[in-house]
């Protein structure tokens, strides 16, 4: 048992920490673009490329594809630091698409996509959700017809968040309507500039842009298919398994800022507020430990299904409670937004109070994840 990193890991963490510390402008620019709601902009791409230069976007990948062949824990260290410094901790390319390509892609796909992902040059956008396929993903209807030379794609995706700046769509489409629904799904990589694709913005109320994506007789080459046809649902699940860690660095940093404010404002002498801050500290510690537990398991090659779900639920629900508690501690000024006079801590907690609702729903609602914990983690019967 060891709740700390090894000396080498600590040293590496320090190195990553210092890198971000030395790039205040890029970090600030990144945050501005990301929290501005439009997603990756020039500052973000610049920062990703710098990380790519150090091979820190894909530290566990083989060196030939731009990685460092490092153990899994190094990846988590980088994620925690990214979360701490810039809030974002993963790209779809590095965390979901890349690993599946690495495992199931053709040699051509590997050579074409992986090095560019590792260098921070390209990004993917998840193409899963549809109007009638949210939690019930297997119900997706976007059709991919095998036309011999190519696939013909028709249908609609929704809530596809990065499509307006990513180069590629990581698309789940129905190639067969025979048999169980989840067996007729295949996975494709689609260049988003392909004719017939149209992207319509959808704005969330935390100011984040996401998109409807329409496929209207879109032709994609056969080489777009990832892995075996009909195996898409399994690849999706597998990709999720790579992306099970929910780093808490961002919350720790927020908590540090909050603590400083509480001390400076004199509110720290209020016994009721002391109780609330202490309770938040406990909950954030539990978040951290849930994450460590997942990292610890993944480091050993174990896929911690229920543990990762528990971490996701607990962390996102804590985030909402945290934001609510803090907004109320701030009182009337708690309602003031980032760009308002008289806001507190730059309005970050007001922003998170809204934005946390997205977190609660993305990557599986708390309801669906609790079902999984009960049935797979505890063995409760389905009927």
């Amino acid at each position: 048992m060891d709740f700390e990193f090894s000396p080498e890991e600590k040293k590496f963490k320090q190195e990553v920490h210092q890198f971000f510390q030395s790039e205040p402008e890029l970090c600030a620019g990144f945050m501005e673009e990301w929290h501005g709601g439009e997603g990756f902009g020039p500052k973000t791409w610049a920062l990703l490329r710098k990380l790519g230069e150090k091979h820190w976007l894909t530290p566990t990948w083989p060196k030939k594809y731009g990685g460092l062949d490092l153990p899994y824990v190094y990846y988590c260290i980088i994620q925690e630091e990214m979360s701490y410094w810039i809030g974002l901790y993963a790209c779809i390319g590095t965390a979901m698409a890349g690993p599946v390509i690495l495992k199931c892609g053709t040699e051509e796909q590997k050579d074409f996509y992986l090095p560019r992902i590792a260098r921070g040059e390209i990004e993917f956008c998840l193409g899963y959700s549809e109007p009638q396929a949210g939690s019930d993903l297997a119900n997706l209807q976007l059709r991919a017809e095998d036309k011999g030379d190519y696939y013909l794609l028709n249908g609609q995706k929704t809530f596809n968040t990065r499509c307006h700046f990513a180069q590629y769509h990581w698309l789940a489409a129905r190639t067969s309507s025979e048999g169980p629904k989840y067996r007729g799904i295949s996975l494709f990589i689609v260049d988003l500039k392909t004719p017939g694709i149209s992207i319509t913005p959808l704005m969330t109320f935390s100011g984040e842009r996401t998109n409807d994506v329409f496929y209207d007789d879109v032709k994609v080459p056969k080489s777009s298919l990832v892995g075996e046809p009909g195996m898409g649902f399994y690849y999706i699940m597998e990709a999720l398994a790579y992306e099970r860690v929910t780093p808490v660095g961002a919350y720790q940093r927020l908590f540090e800022q909050l603590l400083e404010y509480i001390k400076e404002s004199g509110k720290g002498s209020d016994p009721v507020i002391r109780q609330k801050i202490a309770q938040l500290a406990i909950e954030l510690e539990v978040c951290k430990l849930f994450t460590l537990n997942v990292v610890s398991a993944q480091s050993k090659g174990i896929i911690p299904v229920y543990e990762a779900n528990a971490a996701k639920i607990f962390i996102t629900e804590t985030e909402q409670r945290l934001a609510n508690t803090v907004v109320n501690i701030f009182g009337l000024r708690g309602q003031l937004q980032r760009d308002s006079k008289w806001n507190v801590l730059n309005g970050m907690f007001e922003f998170i109070y809204r934005q946390s609702l997205t977190e609660l729903i993305m990557r599986g609602t708390s309801e669906i994840l609790r079902n999984v914990i009960a049935q797979r983690g505890l063995g409760l019967k389905r009927r």
Partner: protein, 371 residues
């Protein structure tokens, strides 16, 4: 013992609902968030024609002699429709104190104009410390011959931009005093605050603003008693508004849950969704009963400080739970700005903070309990 509305009250409720369904679609609510004024003069005029602004004032002031329960019923419908605008600041935070504490002249000047919808008023109380108690008022009022000169910074003054008059709370030599200040007086400076609910609250800086001594509301130095009443009435008014909002959130959520199919069944048939909805219902019922009880007591002239604080503490916290469950059940679609759910979520937080959140009111309750 009877918790029902009277026939007249049912009628008021129905009329209001029908009117607002027609006249205040959510598209208007969003439009008002974007605009400078934050309210629709046309809708305001129509509401005035229905007598809403004068609902709680006697007929001699062109009012309808309604009581606080009637007001809460009306506010519930306004909350249901999320009617934006300075109704509570004008009628509750300004009109009621003028009615109860104004001189005959003040009443005659202000109340009929409020009732006719011609006058918009607001309250400048909170300062940067955002304290709700007496010590929070640091703005100064200096007596100079027949005038007072007011200086200080007020925050969270609702709809100051469109207000004709501001009731400004300041510290005269004799103590806390309320002043009726023309909103366009020289020395007044406005900055809009960007709030979670985009509901047009302002910083109002008073820089040597002169008002005649006749513009004092109530007694000089004895204003804090009035402020406490205003705080209570306004808190309760917001409860009424929010109860109506939450009822609408529950209806939207139940209807979405019954329509949305996943895993080949309506998600409303999943037990966890059902229980969340049951909890929403209990939260809302609790808020409604507490709010009506407090309003009934006010309408009977009974002491209601504790009941109002109970209503405000509960409603504020229940509103967050209810809206959160509503969002969880709506999942993805609820996050979008072309869906109504998020409007209710954002306003719930603004309401919760207005005139004191839970801890503030629990402390009042503790005092009322003799602790």
């Amino acid at each position: 013992m009877n918790l029902d509305l009277s026939e007249e009250q049912e009628m008021l409720k129905k009329t209001a609902r029908d009117f607002l369904e027609q006249e205040c679609p959510r598209s208007l609510v969003r439009e008002m968030e974007q605009g400078e004024k934050g309210y629709s003069p046309e809708l305001w005029r129509k509401m005035a024609e229905l007598g809403w602004m004068g609902l709680v004032f006697p007929e001699e002031y062109s009012g309808m002699s309604g009581n606080f329960v009637d007001l809460i019923i009306l506010l519930g419908e306004m909350g249901r429709a999320l009617v934006p605008g300075p109704f509570i600041p004008t009628v509750v935070s300004s009109g009621l104190p003028i009615f109860h504490h104004g001189t005959e002249e003040q009443k005659g000047n202000f109340l009929p104009e409020i009732a006719s919808g011609e006058l918009i008023m607001t309250l400048a109380l909170t300062e940067p410390s955002t304290r709700f108690d007496e010590s929070g008022t640091e703005a100064k009022a200096q007596h100079q011959f027949t005038n007072y000169s007011i200086s200080g910074t007020k925050l969270f003054v609702p709809y100051a931009y469109v207000a004709d008059w501001i009731i400004c709370v300041a510290r005269a030599e004799e103590g806390i005093t309320l002043f009726l200040v023309p909103a366009k007086s020289p020395g007044i400076n406005l900055t809009v605050l960007k709030t979670i609910a985009s509901d047009k609250q302002f910083e109002v800086v008073f820089d040597d603003v002169k008002v005649p001594t006749a513009n004092v509301l109530g007694k000089v130095g004895d204003g804090w008693k009035i402020i406490k009443q205003i705080e209570e009435w306004s808190a309760l008014a917001w409860c009424g508004y929010e109860v109506g909002s939450l009822q609408r959130v529950l209806e939207m959520t139940v209807s979405y849950a019954n329509e949305r199919i996943q895993f080949e069944r309506p998600i409303g048939s999943f037990q966890v969704i059902q229980h969340k909805c049951a909890d929403m219902l209990m939260d809302i019922d609790g808020a409604r009963f507490l709010t009506y009880q407090a309003a009934w007591k006010v309408s009977q002239g009974l002491a209601a400080s504790m009941e109002i604080s109970m209503a405000k503490a509960w409603t504020g916290e229940a509103s967050r739970r209810v809206c959160l469950s509503g969002h969880q059940i709506h999942a993805g679609i609820g996050l979008f700005t072309d869906y109504d759910m998020e409007l209710y979520f954002r306003r719930a937080k603004a309401m919760e903070l207005a005139f004191g959140e839970g801890d503030f009111h629990r402390e009042i309750i503790a005092q009322q309990l003799g602790l």
